[in-house]
């Protein structure tokens, strides 16, 4: 398959604030058309700054960004009209109705009135029965969905979701992801930031990690999941062992420093975990177990180790 040009192309992007703080440092990033891209990073890493620059909310200091082949500065109209943005904070009007605020967004992006489209967006987001309610009367989760509806009102090709599910209950979150999947199916490219690693795992095609204003990893989810597939079984021993018996050399085992526990690393994605045979071999070797627990290296662990690395 011939690779189509990226829908967003960020090259050598840097942002230095007036205070001298360098929020972004030489960012290079391509977003593929039609993918769901998850951007992860600790607080203050530059996620929101990056999104703000691509969407036109903040000026860049160095480098360039193009959206759909349009430079975001020279050809800002064409670039911005492709993008729908749902920022992290709940920024909504208060006294307008849901219908009015969503229609306003469509007009702002220069699109002719289309009540049928707005009706569809509101229905997809379960906001239809609230269309005549003032926004101030809505719950936080509903306000979040109103912001998504505003972003979708002008039929964007790219949707930015900055922490979309913060403060949204589980049921709604599911509904929201259904909407996102539906959008992707209709060809919309989605870039999201989230703190819920599960969401990134579940939703994203690719994952990027940003820290201290630099992209430190961009990888297909499949590749990352391989690393994530590792699980650790910790077996607490009744007595102390000095070394792992030779009969157990075939297993990937580590002995804890105090000699009172062994750690077995295995792959949950593998056909066999080897746990059953390990336990029987341990018994045969005369090692008795007092307790056990298992842990999984999560995206969070990978993430933390990446971010902590000097």
């Amino acid at each position: 398959m011939l690779a189509s040009p990226p829908i967003i192309s960020v090259s050598n992007l840097s942002k230095t604030y007036g205070s001298g703080f360098k929020a972004l440092n030489g960012i290079n990033l391509d977003i593929r058309r039609g993918e769901i891209f998850a951007l992860l990073g600790p607080n203050g890493a530059g996620k929101t700054t990056l999104i703000s620059i691509i969407c036109g909310i903040a000026n860049l200091s160095e480098g360039s960004v193009s959206v759909g082949g349009h430079d975001i500065n020279k050809d800002y109209r064409a670039a911005r009209s492709l993008i729908g943005l749902v920022p992290q904070e709940l920024h909504t009007d208060s006294f307008e109705t849901v219908w009015a605020t969503v229609s306003f967004s469509r007009g702002l992006f220069g699109k002719p009135k289309n009540p049928a489209h707005i009706e569809k967006v509101l229905k997809d987001l379960s906001l239809w029965d609230k269309k005549d309610s003032k926004i101030i009367t809505l719950s936080g989760g509903m306000k979040r969905r109103v912001m998504i509806a505003k972003a979708l009102s002008h039929e964007p090709q790219i949707l930015f979701l900055d922490e979309p599910t913060a403060g949204v209950d589980v049921e709604l979150r599911k509904g929201m992801w259904d909407v996102v999947r539906g959008l992707q199916a209709s060809g919309v490219t989605i870039i999201l930031t989230t703190h819920y690693i599960q969401e990134a795992e579940e939703m994203a095609d690719r994952i990027g990690v940003i820290n201290k204003g630099e992209i430190i990893l961009v990888e297909d989810k499949a590749g990352l999941m391989q690393k994530l597939g590792k699980k650790h079984l910790k077996l607490y021993l009744q007595g102390k062992v000095d070394a792992i018996p030779a009969s157990l050399a075939a297993y990937d085992l580590e002995l804890s420093d105090d000699g009172r526990a062994v750690i077995y690393n295995y792959d949950t994605k593998g056909e066999r975990t080897g746990i059953t045979s390990l336990l029987s071999d341990l018994r045969d070797a005369g090692i008795r177990i007092s307790d056990l627990d298992t842990t999984q290296s999560s995206l969070e662990d990978i993430f933390v180790s990446l971010v902590r690395a000097p």
Binding site: N59, A79, L85, P87, P112, K150
Partner: protein
Amino acid sequence: MNFRAIQAIYLFEMARTWRTLLQSIVSPVVSTSLYFVVFGAAIGSRITEVDGVSYGTFIVPGLVMLSVLTQSIANASFGIYFPKFVGTIYEILSAPVSYVEIVIGYVGAAATKSIILGLIILATAALFVPLHILHPWWMLTFLVLTAVTFSLFGFIIGIWADGFEKLQMIPMLIVTPLTFLGGSFYSVNMLPSGWRTITLLNPVVYLISGFRWSFYEIADVSVALSLGMTIGFLAICMTLVWWIFRTGYRLRN
């Protein structure tokens, strides 16, 4: 031109006006009526004519200008400050709109509101004093120019302000005194010559003088000078707005 965006912003702002009709329209009308009662009827009856018109009639253009100036600034500064304050400005900044379109939308709505208000106050004044307008088109021209200029000025204040205090500061500390000292309630010619010279540094003098001329053909300074000064101030405000958007001052940093 993204006309739909201009329309969207304009109608959004006007909707805010209709929603807050009471404080937008009624309260300025009430306070202006109070001026008429106090200055026109109570004190004015003891003042003889000024430049050939009764005092009550004389103060009408000044009172209209007083409201138009303060309301233009208040409407426009609040109109752009509020989205900044609650954060909804993100949408305006991320939309495919040029700053000219943003300004036309916000400033147009603020000016519309204060023009409507000025006309209502004029109608209210007609209930208290006999009113005649010698040059209605010039009257409208000065009204529109002033409303647009000071809405632009308010827009600038709204972008500059990073707190509600600052939003109030310029109108309270500078604009209101300038308006009161700008000949709303008296003719500049009534002042001793030293004060008169100082007063001529006040830009509001030219606005009120020109506006009053369109009513009664009496003016403190020549009409051409009034018009020139108004347009000059408009040009200064436009330059400032251009600079704001060019540099992203307080918006895109």
